[in-house]
């Protein structure tokens, strides 16, 4: 046992003996056992989960604000802040009643008008919310604990929208804060959840601090992802931003940090060997890698060129580049939906299966009329996932005989350039890389990237009335079997048309110290139920 741990354990053991079963939180020596040091996947650059929709902001917000409903580990919405809901027989009026005794962090009670205002702000920025307000009649509070949402057309997936974990989540804030323009940041962080955000100690880019909210009343059920009782078992959580994975790995081994959200896969074998560190899969819903082609301009405006890419690409190469040699971390993905979920299908995915046929791909590419024009490929160098994928793509295109114009830029510039609809020679683009959380790809509902409605679609602007029709059919499906049948058709249509090129399905690990318990697998790190012993 190393010196440091020995000293610490001796100190804590003697204190335990003196005090009893658990060290009292007020004791200074016990304080370190009540503070959890967590290294997040990225920097917490802002703290408005509606305005800034990055995953890391959502992860932090999930512990500071509560939601009306929350997904459990079966991706079913369960009641959280809501005591009961009622849907009128014509499906147009949703009435929600809040739980009694809910309070904000400033001591004010949570009222229906706060909920209504929060939902109004959320719906403007959320794709499902936008669908709801498109058919909205009114959203009003009836009394202190009841509010109703009246629609012009039924929206059966309402609870899914309110409880989903995809960003932006429908967090409930005080009305005065929720009145902020959804395109402007809030500046006060008064939460409704189990922990408070300590704004005074926030150093963006370095540290964020959360303390336990003693006034929070968790639900009585056991917790399951975003549903159930959210009980916080530590006093304080410190998020420490570490830009260097080697440093984070050393700090975890040393005990300077307790929980690392995303260790890079190559370091995991070493972490596994370390006696005080545990490693496991972080999110069973994983991630789907993607590169998107520009459907507006040659060569990828021709479906044959796109299919040639699918024929030639090796998902194994992409996945190994992303997650290394550990084969348990990736699966090939002959489709667009998350493996391990009810709607997963491989229908139409033959083109991505089996040995790669480079010659046939080259022929198909030639047929599409490609004759050596430069293909501008945007690759963000500061995101490891896009960087790795970009390298593999450059190699793939070269082997296909294409002329690659490799634009090594940063993620911010990718964000700006991919929105340009100009031709490639004039500042446009033909390919860029990204990835999606598996949780966002379980169904077409939150899945913007699979839509093919031309101008309104995601970057690349795929335009396929057939794909859209199949997606609409899924939305109208009455039960699970009908949904499954519809999804099969969606998958096939989307693959035939090549809405985008999925590079594979990959998982990532999380790592923590032995003395931390209660960490579960999930689409985001859940801090309730996590305890740290001395």
């Amino acid at each position: 046992m190393d010196r440091r741990t020995l000293l610490k354990s001796v100190a804590n053991a003697s204190m335990l003996a003196a005090v009893g079963r658990f060290p009292a939180p007020a004791l200074a020596q016990g304080a370190s056992a009540r503070t959890l040091h967590f290294v997040p996947q990225a920097n917490l650059a802002n703290f408005d989960p509606i305005w800034g929709t990055q995953y890391v902001v959502r992860n932090a917000a999930a512990v500071v604000w509560d939601t009306l409903y929350g997904f459990n580990d079966k991706l079913q919405p369960q009641r959280q802040m809501v005591e009961s809901e009622d849907l009128s027989s014509d499906g147009l009026t949703w009435t929600f009643r809040l739980r009694p005794g809910l309070k904000f962090h400033d001591g004010e009670p949570v009222l229906a008008k706060d909920a209504a205002a929060s939902l109004a702000r959320w719906a403007v920025r959320d794709p499902m919310g936008q669908m709801i307000i498109a058919v909205q009649q009114e959203l009003t509070a009836i009394d202190d604990r009841v509010f109703k949402w009246v629609l012009k057309k039924p929206y059966p997936k309402m609870l899914l929208a309110l409880g989903k974990n995809n960003t932006p989540m429908a967090f409930i804030m005080p009305q005065r804060i929720a009145k902020t323009d959804p395109f402007k940041q809030i500046s006060e962080y008064v939460g409704s959840g189990p922990m408070r955000f300590v704004k005074d100690e926030w150093v963006p880019g370095a540290k964020a601090v959360f303390v336990k909210n003693a006034d929070y009343v968790p639900r009585q059920e056991p917790s399951s992802w975003l549903a159930g009782g959210k009980e916080i078992l530590v006093d304080r959580i410190e998020w420490i931003v570490m830009p260097d994975p080697a440093t984070a790995s050393a700090a975890l081994q040393n005990g300077e940090i307790d929980w690392w959200e995303s260790p890079i896969p190559d370091l995991v074998p070493m972490l596994r060997k370390s006696p005080n560190v545990r490693v496991d899969i972080a999110d069973p819903l994983g991630n789907i890698g993607s590169f998107r082609m520009n459907h507006l301009f040659p060569p990828f405006n021709d479906v044959r060129a796109r299919r040639a890419i699918l024929m030639a690409m090796s998902q194994e190469d992409y996945m190994r580049a992303l997650v290394g040699d550990d084969t348990s971390l990736w699966k090939s993905l002959p489709g667009y939906f998350t493996p391990g979920t009810p709607l997963y299908t491989e229908e139409g995915g033959e083109i991505l299966k089996g040995p790669r046929n480079l010659d046939a791909a080259k022929k198909l590419l030639a047929e599409s009329g490609y004759s050596g024009e430069p293909v501008t490929c945007l690759v963000a160098q500061d995101q490891p996932i896009t960087k790795a994928q970009g390298d593999v793509t450059a190699d793939l295109l070269k082997r296909l005989g294409m002329n690659v114009d490799f634009a090594a830029i940063d993620w911010g510039t990718v964000g700006a350039r991919r929105a340009q609809k100009t031709p490639p020679g004039q500042g446009g683009w033909q390919m860029f890389h990204t990835w999606h959380a598996g949780a966002d790809c379980v169904s077409p509902a939150p899945y913007n990237a699979i839509r093919a409605n031309g101008d309104k679609a995601w970057f690349g602007w795929p335009n396929s009335p057939l794909v859209e029709a199949e997606i609409a059919a899924w939305f109208d499906a009455e039960d699970l079997d009908a949904e499954k049948a519809a999804i099969k058709r969606v998958n096939k249509a989307a693959l035939d048309f090549v809405v985008y090129a999925p590079t594979g399905f990959f998982l990532s690990y999380q790592a923590w110290r032995n003395n931390v318990s209660g960490i579960v697998k999930g689409p985001l790190p859940f801090f309730w139920g996590v305890a740290k012993s001395a």
Partner: protein, 304 residues
């Protein structure tokens, strides 16, 4: 006694004959004699020439295409087939390091040359044209006050990563120092009687520059250029470290190290080999600079 308000370039400040790090051999005449008297120049140039040869003959020295991905054999330790091991995408590190010499040396020499040329021009204008001097000096002061790495990162943000943009991004922060050097030479030489005489005799400015100014700037500028070259190679590595360097399709010592930095605890060879080559090359250039400064009359440098 006038105040030395000019910021004298550190490497030139009060130069004294710096004896070689190595003991000098028997004196002989000509080039061999020169090298024997100044073994530091000899060692420095020898190493540098070695690196240059490696860069030039890279296609023959490399064992495999440095950009060829082979994900099935990623991150393997050095072995008989892959002398320096493979990186995270399965590329051969040995071949990448050999080719990397091209980029690092190109960046080093280009920055040194470009900064010297532009700095010379600005320094001359500054020294001769009073009106321009005030403006140029303020601009140069302003540029110098921005930390060079940050300026380079900001310049890289303007455009995509490529060897050319890296060269420009590293050159711009170096220009003020060169221009200062040249300007101080010009200013001090203008006081010299023989230059005065030339001016009085009606010699055109261009001839004055050619005959009197340039020969006197050549020595200190050359020495300074070698230091700029060494520094540029390190800055290129740092830019890659930050993520604002050359794209990975063009291997450079900097970006090989940057890509492997996360793994250095488990696969140290990815960082070690390019680091070793970079260090040796920078060392060689530094030695060359030291030796040159000693060999070229140090009194010239002192006269600034």
């Amino acid at each position: 006694m006038s105040a030395p308000k000019l910021i004298v370039p550190p490497h030139i400040a009060v130069a004294h004959a710096m004896p070689d790090l190595l003991p000098a051999g028997k004196p002989r005449r000509g080039m061999i004699g020169f090298l024997r008297r100044h073994p530091t120049v000899a060692v420095g140039s020898a190493l540098l020439i070695l690196m240059l040869l490696m860069a030039v003959f890279a296609p023959y020295l490399a064992t495999i295409d440095p950009t060829a991905l082979a994900l099935a054999r990623r991150a393997r330790a050095p072995s008989r087939d892959f002398w320096f091991g493979t990186d995270m995408l399965g590329r051969d590190i040995y071949s990448r390091v050999i080719y990397g010499a091209r980029v690092s040396l190109t960046v080093g020499f280009s920055v040194a040359t470009l900064a010297s040329v532009v700095g010379l021009a600005i320094g001359l204008v500054s020294g001769f044209v009073r009106a321009a001097d005030a403006v140029l000096q303020r601009v140069m002061d302003g540029l110098m006050s921005i930390p060079p790495i940050l300026l380079a990162v900001a310049l890289m943000a303007l455009t995509r990563g490529s060897v050319g943009s890296v060269i420009v991004a590293i050159t711009i922060p170096e220009i003020p120092r060169v221009s200062r050097l040249v300007r101080s030479v010009v200013l001090s030489l203008r006081e010299q009687p023989y230059v005065d005489a030339a001016v009085v005799a009606g010699t055109r400015t261009r001839a004055i520059i050619q005959r009197h100014i340039l020969p006197n700037t050549l020595a200190p500028m050359t020495v300074q250029a070698t230091y700029i070259c060494a520094s540029a190679m390190i800055v290129e590595a740092i830019l890659s470290f930050i993520g604002a360097g050359t794209p990975p399709t063009i291997p450079s010592w900097g970006n090989i190290m940057a890509e492997g930095r996360a793994l250095w605890q488990v696969k140290p060879f990815i960082v070690f080999f390019p680091a070793a080559f970079l260090s040796v090359t920078v060392l060689a250039v530094n030695l060359l600079g030291d030796g040159l400064r000693d060999a070229l009359d140090p009194r010239l440098a002192k006269g600034l």
